[in-house]
Point group: C2
Chain length 259, copies 2
DNA sequence: TATAGTTGTCTAGATCAATAGACATTTTGG
DNA sequence: CCAAAATGTCTATTGATCTAGACAACTATA
């Protein structure tokens, strides 16, 4: 099984163009197809024409009925990604996923840069909660000590991109809520409380289907995927200052890891 | 909408315990529930007992019929994650996702460390292909110049974790296939061709539903999610030496980004 | 102005997903 | 030993998904 395939490979590669989807999976065919077309759009596969291939062509490629492809395209139209024009074809309206950089100095609003004109972060709510085991460990505080919890959702040009739950040690950052509300930025709220700089020390990523809560917060077409990042930021002495759990709308974002 | 919710928050948090799932989404309820239980298991939510809650309890929490929960548990049993024992309950067989570190010096086999006893990478095939636009740009070679393509699938303790397609400039690494087949490692194959060290310069991540190809390569229960990482490695002069596209089985892996 | 190619709409039937209820089987604990 | 609690199995019904085919409406082009 090692590397003596060579010539036979060419054939195998052509097969791969058949864009197969699987049945009886718990994920409807129209949704799998919508996912794949979305990916093709964002990969620029259709840039030559600016159009999605005709429904009959897609149906043949995916090996499904034309109506199934129509369901997929309807979902993408609902997202505003494509627009169908009777008699002409289906036009691509929007192409790129927003690329979000994760680095040692990750700051939410900065990285998005020129990709979106307007970034809005809305504070959904806050609370003062005792540290649970996992979070206490991540923040290096004793379990049960008080934390400030902030819940936010962020949008780019009106489209929700991510939603976060963040925790801060209440003793060190007692005015977190007020400062964040006033300044609209975690970085500035930290600065207002005497912390000038901080760095990302760890990020863990998983991907899964969105639950109903995330669907509504991120205005996702249901059944969508979220990428969940658990991250810890620390001050320059290595003392953790923030634990947060951010869920990104997977079909609107790609994460770029910078090293 | 800014931070004057406070007390009302506590109620909202309790509501969140209701583990809601959405209907008519193109993703079957049993699959959404399977995803959520899998996440709960890997988060350690059931560590106290080592058991998944009873079917009736889960059905109540998710607001669905017991049979729907049974479908979800059947899928998890199929994955080998849980085992049902009549009269007793449903036992957790395996807990953790494998954590895969992505850093400036990412090396596949090293990072997995003690998490898996045995790592096996199988060469699926190879080919010599002209560089397409995107890949040529990433590798900083002229479009159409020859690349060596390697396709592999990697498993930990017999469970497929990821599948990769990688490209190397054919002029610089003409013996890539032979050396890789002989040594079983990209790092060693590079060394055998005079490249002693290399670093990760970029990684881009997206998440989506797996296609049939990935389902069969990764032996995924259909409808599963993959995380796709496009990465570029370069030598210490910054000259790109490898472009690769790795798809991770999202329900078996978490990615840890180290900065 | 035909004609081919495209999306839009409708109907009918087959299969999958989910609910509902009843009862069997097995284990645990009083 | 008995009762409670858990999983296993079966039947029946409803709604969502997918297929199949036919035709209408619209667009571009020869």
């Amino acid at each position: 099984m090692a590397g003596k395939i060579g010539a036979a490979e060419i054939g195998a590669k052509k097969m791969a163009l058949k864009k197969i989807v699987e049945r009886q999976t718990g994920v409807a065919l129209w949704r799998q197809i919508a996912d794949r077309i979305r990916l093709s759009i964002s990969n620029g596969d259709y840039d030559a024409t600016g159009m999605v291939p005709p429904e009959m062509t897609l149906a043949r490629e995916f090996g499904v009925n034309r109506h199934t492809v129509r369901s997929a395209l309807a979902a993408l139209a609902e997202e505003g990604l494509v627009r169908a024009l009777q008699g002409r074809g289906t036009m691509i309206e929007r192409k790129d996923r927003v690329s979000y950089p994760i680095s040692r100095r990750t700051r939410f609003s900065q990285g998005l840069g020129r990709q979106v004109k307007e970034i809005a972060t809305r504070l959904l709510g806050h609370a003062e909660v005792p540290a649970s085991g996992e979070i206490a460990a991540a923040l290096a505080v004793s379990p049960g000590s008080l934390l400030i919890e902030l819940r936010t959702v962020s949008s780019g040009d009106g489209r929700p991109l991510s939603t976060s739950v963040s925790y801060y040690p209440a003793d060190r950052f007692p005015r977190m809520v007020e400062e964040y509300s006033r300044l609209g930025s975690v970085t500035k709220a930290f600065a207002a409380q005497g912390l000038d700089d901080y760095v990302r020390v760890s990020t863990e990523l998983v991907a899964r289907h969105a639950d109903a809560d995330e669907l509504s917060l991120l205005k996702l077409s249901p059944g969508a995927i979220v990428m969940e990042a658990q991250s810890v930021n620390a001050d320059l002495d290595g003392k953790p200052v923030e634990f947060s759990r951010t869920r990104f709308a997977a079909d609107r974002m790609k994460l770029r890891i910078e090293t």
